[in-house]
Amino acid sequence: MQEVMPATGVFSLLWLLIALPLAGAAILLFSGRKTNKWGPYLGVFTVFVDAVIAIWMLIAMMGNGSEQRTFSQNEFSWMFAGNFKVDMAFQLDQLSMVFVLLITIVGTLIHVYSLGYMSHDPDKRKFFGYLNLFVAAMLLLVLANNYLLLYVGWEGVGLASFLLISFWQIKPTAAAAGKKAFIINRVGDVGLSLAIMVMFVTFGSVGFDEVFGSTGQASEGTLTAIGLLLLLAACGKSAQFPLQAWLLDAMEGPTPVSALIHAATMVTAGVYLITRSNPIFDAATWAATAVVVIGVITMFMGAIIGSAKDDIKKSLAGSTMSQIGYMVLAAGLGPIGYVFAIFHLLTHGVFKAGLFLGAGSVMHGMNDNVNMRRYGALRTAMIVTYATFIIGTLSIMGIPPFSGFWSKDSIIHAAFESNTLVGILTIIAAAITGFYMTRMAAMTFFGKARWEDGVHPHESPKVMTIPLIILAVGSTFMGMALLFWGNIETWLEPVVGIKKEEIGIPDWLLMTITLVLVLAGAAYGWIQYARREVPIVAPRGNWLTRAAREDLYGDAVNNTLVVQPSFWLSRFLVWFDGSWIDGFVNGSAAFFGGLSARLRPYQSGFIRSYALSMVGGAVLVVLALVLVRLS
């Protein structure tokens, strides 16, 4: 167990990490048009300051021994009743630290990039407000010291995601995509809620320390339940099967959003959750296995979808799914894989952000056209973008020495350590990665220009390219830096533990096989899309392509199984409410009205009828008396 240190020194600023962007968001969102001018800069500034603080904290943390790197700050009691008590408390440990760094640094870059990308948007101020809100929520997610507070960040990033996806909400598709993202995420949130509840019922607390501290006493069934529920949560946030359908639609949002939220940070929250909950998964093998299965499935789904999409962002989104699938399966492997899941998460955060921003840069130059079939030969028109994008591509494909190579190779290795089949599957997926990334790069930058009329591709302004360059540098060196200089394995070990197993084949062989397969895939992509003419209208393709273009029928399945039945039920209940429940109410009113109308004729106005009823009454009264006496 790690020792929990009080948050002193720079760590006393923990709350500020969250509060700064939150304040930024509040100012930007509530201040009105007055702040239009300087608002975006404020947005950048807050995140930048966060990044500075984060780096400062990192330095401070490295000054401590590896067992004294957990800092906790308790602000106040948040919810409490009976034996339930949750604090507004933050905790920074090594795992959080890397996330804080990722979020603040990549966040800063993307904020800067957005200054250019969104420069013409009238609602720019709001955009930065949302971005700041996102950063704040994401930081809360990773800094929370208990699951419930984590949940706040968890939904907070979902909210920011919703807001940013539907940022251009005048487009119905964007609005719909935002809603869809939120609702599907909510399904995952149900999982998280329930997991928290099970934890509370089991352990009497939802704090990380308390839960993990007594994991050993809980039954495996309970832990499996918690694990599966957490997995459900992770599926929602990280777009894992079967809750993957929202991510592709989420590309309706502005590209920086896709980069920050739907590639680098938010979607990896699921991985964070699983990794953070490692004591639970370690004790619940079935849940861990499920995590692996989900990861594998999503890894392939994402890859296949990414291979078929002509929309550059959606293709990248498919790739994101696939890469997160890697991370998830790695996390599912247990102590063997946690570190590498996080490792890959970090490298992926950087190179995928770069790729997305690159794609954004391309779109910027192509009048926001996202169809790669109308790209081609852009390498000359936008050289910086081209260069950084290619670096990113190489990185994600796992070509040495780019960052992706190190992290992905670690995962493949870990997979083999755990289970040969999973290992083989990861290699195959890597090959597909090679294919679709090459396809993307080829369609965009190589081949003939297939531009639409009136499009004049041009390089993006500095404010956009500089972040690209920085991210490209990161894509290149970060893997090595983290692995060798940063020593990520030992860094994270106190939190997640680490375990090494021997595998049957030597490392170099595995690496080679992987590389060969990736290159084969890349070659196939090159041949298909750089050498050959790319038709402007997509050919029909085989069944897999068609299915992939339909997101592997994810929406169709959701519609058939969930959405449509819901609407039918809703319509039925509306009818039922009006006709039956309200019908009963109004019916009983009508009944008495009708009864009244039916009885009125007996008040006939004839004295003799009245006398008759009086005689009847007298008889009734007498009979009643007699009957009572008799009974």
Binding site: S604, G605, R608
Partner: protein, 99 residues
């Protein structure tokens, strides 16, 4: 024979009077039927007075006669008034107030 036969007779007369109220349409006849009922009650009072051995019943009967006389006067006045307005003594005729 038993004195209670008087009571039985009064019951019979009472019932017949009630029946008369129900079936007759001439207001005056209806009213006569009511008087018959009062008389039946009187007979009962008288008979019970004898059976109980006190005179309260007879006193009551006496007062009932007074009351009945007053009632007759009022009743007939009302009937005459109605007759003047409507030229009819039918009890079914005044039938504007109903439902």
């Amino acid at each position: 024979m038993n004195p209670s036969n008087y009571v039985i007779l009064s019951a019979l007369l009472f019932g017949i009077g009630a029946l008369g109220v129900l079936v007759r349409r001439n207001a005056i006849v209806v009213f006569m039927s009511v008087e018959l009922m009062l008389n039946a009650a009187n007979l009962a009072f008288v008979a019970f007075a004898r059976m109980n051995g006190n005179l309260d019943g007879q006193v009551v009967a006496f007062f009932v006669m007074v009351v009945a006389a007053a009632e007759v006067v009022v009743g007939l006045a009302i009937i005459v008034q109605i007759f003047r307005s409507r030229r009819s003594a039918s009890i079914d005729e005044p039938n504007l107030l109903k439902y």
